[in-house]
Amino acid sequence: MTTVEATRQKPGFHVPRRFVPVIATAVLLVVMYVIGISQYQAFSDPQVLLNIFIDRGFVLVVAVGMTFVLLTGGIDLSVGSVVAMTAMVSAWLLESGSVPAGVVLVIALAIGPTLGFLMGCIIHYFEIQPFIVTLAGMFFARGMCTFISDEAIPIKNEFWVKAAQSRIRFGDNFISPSVIVVFVVVLIGAAVLAYTRFGRNVYAIGGDQQSAMLMGLPVGRTKIAVYTISGFCSAIGGILLSFYTLSGDSLIAIGMELDVIAAVVIGGTLLTGGSGYVFGTVLGVLVLGVIQTLITFDGTLNSWWTRIVIGGLLFAFILLQRLTGATPRARSAGG
């Protein structure tokens, strides 16, 4: 099968096959956006798109981390809980008032990567499946949230409030400072994957871990690093979420891991690892954001129809992507 594929490519100009998924997602996104504009006047305001970045920025940051993990063929289910725990810890430390904001920031940002590092170590050294280890991590982080406080804690710290409420304006439109952070994370993530040895090792491990090991690549270090990175991205996401909601709440971001995984996969990353781009992930998050926005703009769906429609749009999207040949046929076997 493999030998045949190459021969399908015709000579002359063609888009490299590996970019097809991302391009397909982009095209579909544009189509959806145009549909939105044609249906709802207010949709055409560029602010609608900016709002997706403002509202889903933290999801995007977490998704960048998840992209690393999925590229190695792993999975990280703990992200939602780590996001919540980071926000919770920040709120809790700030509430006590005795810890300066800078220190809180550092502590809160350290939790995610630490947990990620530990999970990575367990996954690598003891060869336990990532799904299980990160599921335990998810329980743990969520448990820590309620353990810290089972009530939501508001944040009144000046720095946080400023980060939450200041707006960077250009013309009629604006973004929040968080969006800048999001863009920085996205750019760094993309650059690391494309232009560093570490980034390429991530792809190599996703392609064939055994081979990567035999080629003398630092498999263990890389695997531990991706979970640490994912933890770090979740921590940043948690901080952004705490900017966004100005509070810590033990029940927030439940089920977020599935949204994030869905976004990354819609963006063309294969769950089996080895193939995908951060830019695709950005598009994936935008797709989910546009779906959500369309539904809100419509404003006539009741609760269950909302879910059914989200599921339906997800299906339409994945189906189109699959049928346009953007994503290769899923390998049924994991290895």
Binding site: Q41, C145, P154, N302
Partner: protein, 306 residues
């Protein structure tokens, strides 16, 4: 079709009011009744309702509110998932000149100008009403009264507040003791499974306090299966007063229910109209709710809507 929600902001007073409503989700029958009430009343009051279901996610609620602002609706109302975290977007609404009404839960902010009014029940009060009834019921108790508690979803506001209200009330009588307290996630299945173990671990249970009817109904089955008589051997207090709960109360299986009414719709639509006209409204409006004993339940049951 929705071109009317677009650009022209110079809406005259007699034009149809557009209300953007962000619901938390549809996690329980109570919530669904709440949604239905709001939709029906909006239709009846001739208000154009933009309804959004946040799927239980606060971030979705904020997004929805932002989109309502984008669409320039006349009034925004929402049931905050938690008290915290809405200040920023409320400021944006205020800047855009769109009045906001809170339903069901308040928002924790020092700046009370961010919303016009808060319409909803008081969970602490519900817990307290339950506790007060028990204190009164157990006035003459000579021995310790063993209470088990079925909590709502850990960390959720109703669970926290009802627990607190109840604990405060029963502090009045040191004989009233909570010997076990566990979450049943507001579900019947959870209530049943937890109660089964309560019954096995504690030979003497006198009272069950469940944070909602559903858990109470689940526990009911466990109690019956253990060979005890609910309502007699073990007194049962719950909150909500949904139809099934009221039935159990009328049948003598429950002993007391503190109502938590989801039927905010009519009151909300009144407020929307007032707010739109610029009339002043009180900052806090409590939903009309009551408590039920077994006799009251029998009387009220035939007219129960949900």
């Amino acid at each position: 079709n929705n071109s009317d929600t677009g650009g022209d902001s110079g809406s005259a007073a007699d034009e149809k009011i557009t209300l953007g409503f962000s619901q938390v989700g549809a996690e329980s029958g109570w919530r669904t009744a709440n949604t239905t009430s709001i939709k029906d009343s909006a239709a009846k009051a001739g208000i154009d309702l933009k309804f959004d279901d946040a799927q239980g996610k606060q971030e979705n609620q904020i997004t929805a509110i932002r989109n309502f602002i984008q669409q320039k609706v006349d009034v925004i109302a929402f049931s905050p998932k938690v008290e915290t975290g809405f200040e920023t977007v409320l400021k944006e609404a205020k800047d855009a000149g769109i009045p906001v009404i809170l339903t069901d839960r308040a928002v924790d902010t020092p700046d009370k100008t961010l919303y016009k009014t808060f319409l909803g029940s008081d969970f602490v009060k519900e817990g307290k009403a339950s506790g007060d009834w028990l204190v009164n019921e157990m006035k003459g108790a000579t021995a310790d009264v063993n209470i088990v508690e079925l909590q709502g979803t850990t960390g959720s506001a109703p669970a926290n507040d009802r627990k607190k209200g109840f604990a405060d009330a029963i502090a009045a009588n040191p004989k009233l003791k909570i010997i076990a307290s566990q979450t049943g996630n507001f579900e019947r299945a959870g209530g049943k499974a937890v109660m089964e173990q309560f019954l096995k671990a504690n030979p003497k249970i006198d009272v069950l306090f469940a944070h909602n009817d559903d858990m109470g109904l689940g526990a009911l089955e466990a109690i019956t299966a253990a060979g005890k008589v609910p309502g007699k051997d073990i007194k049962i207090i719950t909150i909500d007063a949904v139809k099934d709960g009221m039935q159990a109360l009328a049948d003598g299986k429950f002993n007391f229910i503190a109502e938590c009414s989801p039927l905010l719709g009519p009151q909300l639509m009144e407020l929307v109209k007032k707010v739109k006209k610029g009339e002043s409204v009180p900052a806090r409006i409590e939903t009309q709710e009551t408590t039920f004993t077994q006799e009251q339940a029998k009387a009220a049951l035939p007219t129960r809507q949900y």
